[in-house]
Every structure is written in structure tokens, then in C-alpha cells.
Symmetry: D2
Subunit: 295 residues, 4 copies
Amino acid sequence: MANSKYEYVKAFEQPDVLLPNTWIVVRIDGRGFHKLTDRYNFTKPNDRRALDLMNAAAVEVMKDLPDLCIAYGVSDEYSFVFHPSCQLFERRSAKLVTTIVSTFTAHYVYLWGTYFPDSPLQFPYLPSFDGRAVMYPATRNLRDYMSWRQVDCHINNLYNTTFWTMVLQGGMSNTDAEQELKGTVSSDKNEILFKRFGINYNNEEEIYKKGSVLYRQYQLEDIKPKSESKSGVPAEEEGNNVQEAKISRSQQDKLRKLRRKAQVVVDHVDIIKDEFWERRPWILSGKPGKLPTEA
Amino acid sequence: MANSKYEYVKAFEQPDVLLPNTWIVVRIDGRGFHKLTDRYNFTKPNDRRALDLMNAAAVEVMKDLPDLCIAYGVSDEYSFVFHPSCQLFERRSAKLVTTIVSTFTAHYVYLWGTYFPDSPLQFPYLPSFDGRAVMYPATRNLRDYMSWRQVDCHINNLYNTTFWTMVLQGGMSNTDAEQELKGTVSSDKNEILFKRFGINYNNEEEIYKKGSVLYRQYQLEDIKPKSESKSGVPAEEEGNNVQEAKISRSQQDKLRKLRRKAQVVVDHVDIIKDEFWERRPWILSGKPGKLPTEA
Amino acid sequence: MANSKYEYVKAFEQPDVLLPNTWIVVRIDGRGFHKLTDRYNFTKPNDRRALDLMNAAAVEVMKDLPDLCIAYGVSDEYSFVFHPSCQLFERRSAKLVTTIVSTFTAHYVYLWGTYFPDSPLQFPYLPSFDGRAVMYPATRNLRDYMSWRQVDCHINNLYNTTFWTMVLQGGMSNTDAEQELKGTVSSDKNEILFKRFGINYNNEEEIYKKGSVLYRQYQLEDIKPKSESKSGVPAEEEGNNVQEAKISRSQQDKLRKLRRKAQVVVDHVDIIKDEFWERRPWILSGKPGKLPTEA
Amino acid sequence: MANSKYEYVKAFEQPDVLLPNTWIVVRIDGRGFHKLTDRYNFTKPNDRRALDLMNAAAVEVMKDLPDLCIAYGVSDEYSFVFHPSCQLFERRSAKLVTTIVSTFTAHYVYLWGTYFPDSPLQFPYLPSFDGRAVMYPATRNLRDYMSWRQVDCHINNLYNTTFWTMVLQGGMSNTDAEQELKGTVSSDKNEILFKRFGINYNNEEEIYKKGSVLYRQYQLEDIKPKSESKSGVPAEEEGNNVQEAKISRSQQDKLRKLRRKAQVVVDHVDIIKDEFWERRPWILSGKPGKLPTEA
């Protein structure tokens, strides 16, 4: 039984190669996590076990795909970033996105028991994630994307912290707390926390306030006295995008091996200001740094 | 800290809505399953546990997404089919594909222990899947896609059965078996199996020869004496695609509820000939059939 | 001076092949024709010279591209239709659209003097057109697209005829006429025309009421007593899309030659009802009919 | 007759908005110009009238679309470049491409008689053009695209000049000339021209050797002693893409008016080296320069 008669259907597969020399961000989101957090009794406003599980799954994705240069997670979402020079899967969008979503999901489900030993998964109510790829042409755009997510983390966390403190410690109903917070700005919420509950928001844990940044660890660089470029990456690096894009397959393999040697770290720091990027130039340059020397 | 300064980055998200009134096939494939089957000692040429696990995960996807009208699985791949009238996630490609890939992965990992009790998953060597969406405009194209996959199943299974019988029972080296099979046609392989090993390929299990078909079970319809349309669906149904596409959200919800009531069955039958489709008209029409009456 | 150093930029060209087995409609529209009609004093509400020029240019496009099976024009817009089996330019969207837009523009500009002998083009105020391609998967969708444009023609022409009669014959200001017509339905407008100006809208010229339909002329077919398919094309033809899609390049060339022999006619008839399509089955089947025999 | 029944067909129109903050190149090409040059007896290897006509049509496109920042033409092709900050037509690909193709075609046909007074267009053998849009994320990529076209111009012109000199002055057959040139490098062709025909290729007209560059004329800037960026545009300008992308509609209108005031010039100069771009920084910055002062 020959198959040639039906093979014409392959012609309906349409290419989905992403534009060369652009940053690729794959953002994944928990599907119906509102329900899920209820079912498994996640702590409000933040469940440390859940965040640690997200980070653990994300670390495995970073290890599995050395082409990834940075990732940022907050709540039930995670953004994974490929460098403009990335050639993985010929930059096919569906392949990149589904690989990340599936690898993340596999580890999230597998590791669940480690982080929720008292709350095992109940079949068939399993966690799952959707995702999409977005291209950013300039390093400035990528930086602004990362800032957008971290500012969002801050705004949501301040709101949630205040709301749940009012409900859990203040004994207010959800509706009343929601009503009172309507129209308030940051300073109002800080004041509610401090005056009514003696909570200094600045003392909250960094992982809640800043989210989680994952990257490969190399030796930090000293910051030069003057930033030479607004984008936080030296001008000459930006121009290198093109050359990178043309590196050979064997060079790519070599880079992947080098990247695999670096440890993936989970950090909770500011990624909006330049300092983070200037001290870790390998993230934006796409070139491995120096491995930390042993003491 | 307002976020408006960075929100412009949302404008870089490009729409990926699939063309209305087309069949949507989401095909997922195991990533690096060659290695995986070695690591977990899958039986050659077919591992019944692995196929049952694939089917179990696929059944959960079908249950989770009542918009799916049929699915077909073979080896480490599965095709899930949405009807042309499907409006799920506004037909956004990435959303449809990642939801299926992630839900499938979650159940595959979760259920692993049930199907491989003696071979637990070894961290971090977890199974994962990639996937993509393809549109088929005509019912004939969709039927031909399904036939393509089933013919492929047959061709691969006959080859693999012969190859592994030659190696495992015949004591040949992989290379020798491969060499001898080069250029052979189906009848040659049937003869090798029968003459040398006394195996009648026709007696092999249907799940290996035909793959697995998943659909919602309603009362089978009698076949009319004459097929009135070459595509296996009455002509008037084909024209209905359009109307379906315009059904309201509340009607869609109602249809989803009806579909949830039907049992998802796993079948190993011919889906190339018309009979399968004519006796189960609800698959191509997109309208729920009559639930089986109890005896 | 070798060019290899720069040739990498070709990799940024992204494919834009339209989905196989779908109808392709290329609709073009006059750019800024409101201004243009003022500058060249087009007659209101319809300028016969302008419509004849549109049709003349469209006929040349149809002759130039035998793959086109029908076209429909109204006002300063024209829709050109390629059959699902069309393989022209490998179905590349930009190539199909720009070829039609450019060929149309060239003839429109070249023939201007023939239709506007007293109103030559004034440099640099030249007419130009933009365009886009849209895919329709089912014949029913294509038929509905055509109906949409013809209903639009009717609605606009009835409005414009009434408006301009009120202004030009009734001496009303534009604002007053617009105000009075606000919220009126067809019967209201018919009544205004008939009671105030003695105009029976039904007696208006067909080209204004129906727009212009272009197709290749073959022998008309008799209508069968019962329509066997709602889409105005026999069920067996619909199924043939696929086969057509697989016809060889030499067969395509042969079909093109046959189509070139047929005369392109300009008609002003109803294309919403089935009759038009049933008597001219070659339009939807994509297969040339019988050339009219000489008397 | 209401149209709502058919309006659903509008849902089949798919968005084609180009990625923000990328350079957009629209390249158009003459359709079947090989035949056309024969029919209208274009001079070989270069027909000055034809090139002047191409340039005249391109100048009108530049005037019509002030958003264009540069254009480059060679033979029967022209590349038009929009800045990353361009918001024209919401960056819809088909709209941008067809507008350029149609405007160019209109002027090309209209102006034909001015440049070919002795060789009027013969109906229906009219010139037409196809086109496509390509995105380039980095200024370096855009520069390399422009270099690619100019190197191509050089390679083709040297070949064509040598070939046609061998045929027209040397009396060789086309085949013999083609055969002899097979495998030759630039220096070989220069030698053939010089030794056999006394032609110094360097003395050929610049328009043939360099092609034609169109841009708006402002006061040239002095070149700074050291180029501060490899891309020929100061680093701070590159970062500005983003801000530009967010300029308001009224600012865009203002910029358009300013650009309309500048003269569009046709130049035949090197655009591969940095000098061209450094002396005309307004091209890459997207901001109008200073209008030349009157003497």
C-alpha cells in the first residue's frame, strides 16, 4: 500500500520561521490556574512552594535548551528568551514554543510531589500551560519587555499583598477589600499595610517583589564608569547580531556545549536598571562569559 | 510605578488566527523518543504499555477539549482534529497547539507509573512533545490526511515487525536486516515473516497494524445503500460548515456539554474506507449524535 | 567584487504561499478616488465612462491571467477570483496581488484617454489602486463573498441615486439630503425617487444596479429541474478540488491555452441566485466549457 | 436587502501587519521585461531612456509617500525603504506594497511617451511590475541589503557591458560570447574590454555602474574624524527607533509635511561605504535634516 496518493496533504503545512536577527520571547501561562490554586489550596497572596516549583521547572528548560539566554518568571507565567543569533529548529515558531511548553509541563508535573508533598495531584485535574512566541527587533525592545513583566510583578504583588492582608489579617470580605482598593495608588497601599498592619512592604521577600530571573552564571564584570549605550549593551555588541546570525552549525554546537557548563542560577533582582545587564554582558551578547574560578 | 512606559511592547505580538471554516489538525510528536525508548527499554517493534499510555493521555485531551472531534495515534505521534466550525480560543494557532501539547504531556508524565510500574521516570530524562497546527479546507483533504497517517502506520509497522523479527528471532545483526529489507515491497516482507518465521502478518494485533482512533461514541448509523458523496459525508452536511461557523457562543457551550456526555472510545479500525465515517456521521458533521441507549 | 558577503539578507524574505485548495479573491480599490472624482469631474451618482474604463482594464487583467475564473466590479473596486486549483506563481500572495494591481493600473492609465477624451490625466494626479488577497475555503463562502459585494452595490447605488437626485434635481443641499436619508430603508428611498421625481428605480441601468461580472464565455448549460447542491455546483465537482490541485504543470499550461480562446464578457446580472452559476458551471468547476458554436 | 447575511465573509480577511520597529523594504520588479525590452527595442546593455523613466516614476513614488526615506533602482527593479518608525497604513504589508506598485506603474505608463517619444506603447503590451515587502530588524541588515543590490548592479553591468561589446562591436554570436565569459572573474572582463575594445570600464557612466539612489536633499553633514558606530549611524540614534515608533499621529503628519518640502534627488554614488550615510544622517535617523540654504 503506497502512500504517495495521500502525501499531497503535506503541502498544506505552512512555514512559520521567525524573522532572523530578532529576539524571541516565548511566554507561557498556567491554564485555568485560578481554579487550580483553589483545588490545591495555594497560600495567598503568594505560595512559596508553587513559585519554587515554577522555578525548578524553568531551570530544567534552561538546561535542556542551552540556546536560551535568560528567563523571567512571576506567578504562573514564565518568559524564555532566545538570542537574535539563535538558529534552534531553524527558528520555527511552533517547534520552539511547543518544546518549551512541553518540557516545562513535564517537569512541573514530575516535580509536583517534591514541592507539594502533602497535596498530591488529583487525576484528572493536572496543571497545564499555554504559550506563544513574540519577536523583538532591538535590544531596547527586549529590555523593555523584561521591564514590563517586572513592573507588572510589582504592581500585582503590592495589590495582592494589601488585599490579602486586609482579608486574612483585617477580617474584611473580599468585596469590601476590593472596593477600598479601587482607585488607590502605590503609596496608598503602602500606607494601608504599614499603618493598619505594621507591615513594611519593602521588607517583603524579594522573590515576591521582583519575581525570578534565571540565567547562566559566569564571572560578573565590573561596571564601566560611564554607560556607553542606552541599551545597556556596548554599541559594538549590538552590531554583532548579524555576524552571530551567520555562525556555522559547528560553532553553534560548540557554543551550546560551553553554555551547558555554566550553572543556571535563580535570582530575584532588579532587571529594569542597566546594572544587571552591564555586569552580565553575556546575556545580551549571546557569547558565553568566563566560568567562575574556584576559590 | 506605572507600567504604561513599557506596555508598547505588547504591540509586537502578532495575531495567528487560523482561517475560518477549515479543518484544524494539531499533530504532536515525541521529542527524541529514539533515545527515550532506549533508556526505558521499550519493547521492539511495539511496546504495548507505551501505546496504551499514549492513548490514555490522548483520551484525557479529548475529554478536556470537547471541541475535538477525532484523534488518531501511531507510535509517538498523535493527530487531534478540530471541526471547521470550531471557535475555541478564537482559533488562535499557538493557543490551540500549546494547550494540546501541554495537556497531553501532563497526563503522559502523570500516568507513566501506571503503565510502566517497573520502569519509573528518571529525572531529568522526561518525555516531551512538540506540535504544530495544519489547516485543511475540504473534508476530502482531512480524510486524505487521516488516510496518510494510517497508511504510514501500516508501512512502518510491517517494516518494523519484519526487521525486529529478523533481528530478535532470526539472530541477524541490525545492519544485515536493514540491508536485506532495502528495496523490498510489502509482499516480500509478508513472505519473509511467513516463510522464515511462520508469522502471518494479518494476525498481528490491530492496534499495531491500524493505530488508534479516538472519537466520541454515539449510536452507529446504518449505511445507506449508495454513498451519496465521495467524501463520506452527505453533500448537505458539507454546505453546513458555514452555518456552524456562525453559531452563537451559547450554542457552542451547549454543544460542548452534549459532547462531554459521550464516552471517548479507543478503536483500531480502518479509517481510509468510507464505512467508518458513514456509520459515525457526527465526526464530520460536528453535531453530536444520539447517545447509546442502555440495554 | 563578490556578493556572497551580503547575500545573507535574502534569508529575511518570508514565504507567503496561500493555503492550497482555497478560493483566492484579490480585491483592488481605488486610492483616494473621492478626490480623483472631483478633480476629473466624474458624473454623479454614476459615471458611465469611469465604469467602462474600470471594466476595460479588468477585461485586460482577465485576458492576461487565464487562471482567473471570474471578476466582479462596482464603483472603484474590483474583485478577481482564482480557482482553488490555481497554482499561478506557486500561490504566492504578494506576487498574485501585485501582478493584478499593476496590470490593472497600467491599462487604466493607458486607456484613460479613450474613455475620458475631454478630460486628460493631469500630472502628477494619476489614479492608483491598492489590493489584498483573501482565501475562501468553501464554494459556499466564495458565493457568499460575491453576493456580499453585489448586495453592497445595490445598497450603495440606491442610496447614491436617491441622494444625488434629491441634490441635483431636487435642489437640496448635501447636508439636507443626507439628513433626510438617515435611517431610511430601501422602500423609503424607492418612494422618494418615485413620488418626488417620477423615477422608477427598477428602470435604472443594470450596470449601476448590479455592477459588472466578467467571465469567459462558453455555451450556457440548461438548468436541471432540481438543484442538487446548495452551493450551485454539483456535489461531485466540489470533491474535485483536490484532484485539480494535483494536475501537472503541462496540463495547467493546456488549460490556460484553452481559456485564452474563450471571450471575456462583461455582464450585469444577478450573481446571488443559483441560476447564474448553474448555467455557467465552468466558473466554479475550473474546467473550460464548450466554446460557442458559430451560427 | 440587508447585507448582514453575507458580511461574515469579512472574517476571512487575515491581518498582515509587519513587525514594529523593523526596516521595511518594498522591492518591485518588471514583469516579463525581457520580452518588453525586445518589443520596444531597448538599447543593449543599458537603455538610458528606460533608466530615466524608472527614476522618474520612482521620484513620483517618493513624493507621493513622504514616509519613504530612500530608494535604490537598477535595471527594471526598484527598492523603496520605510523607516522602522513608519506607521503608514498601520504597516499593513499588502497595502504598502500595492500602493507602491500601483503608483509606480501609473507614472511609468503615463510618462512612457516622454522618454520613448518614438516608440509609443502598443496595446495590450503594457509594462507592469510585481513587488513584495521584506523586514530588516537592524540598521546593519538594511545597509547590507542596499550593498547587496549595488554589488549586484556592478556584477551584472560588468557582465552585460562585456557581453554586449563582444556581440555588438566584436561581432560574436550570443552563444560564443556567453561561452567565453563562463567562469571569468571581474579582472578578466575588464581586460577583455580594455585589450580588445579599448574600453576602460571605469569610464562607463556612473548610472550604469552604480545604479540610482533617491533620497530627500538636506544640508550635508561633515564627517566626524572617527566613525563611532559600525553601522554608520550614531549609537544613540539606533536606540531611538523605539521612541520614534511611539510618536503621535499629529507628529507624524508634521514630519510628513517637513519631508514634502525637501527635494527628491537622483544620485549615482557608492552606498556601500559609510561616507554616504554619515553625510546624510537623516536617511537612517528618520528625522528631516536642515533644508539647503539659498546662496
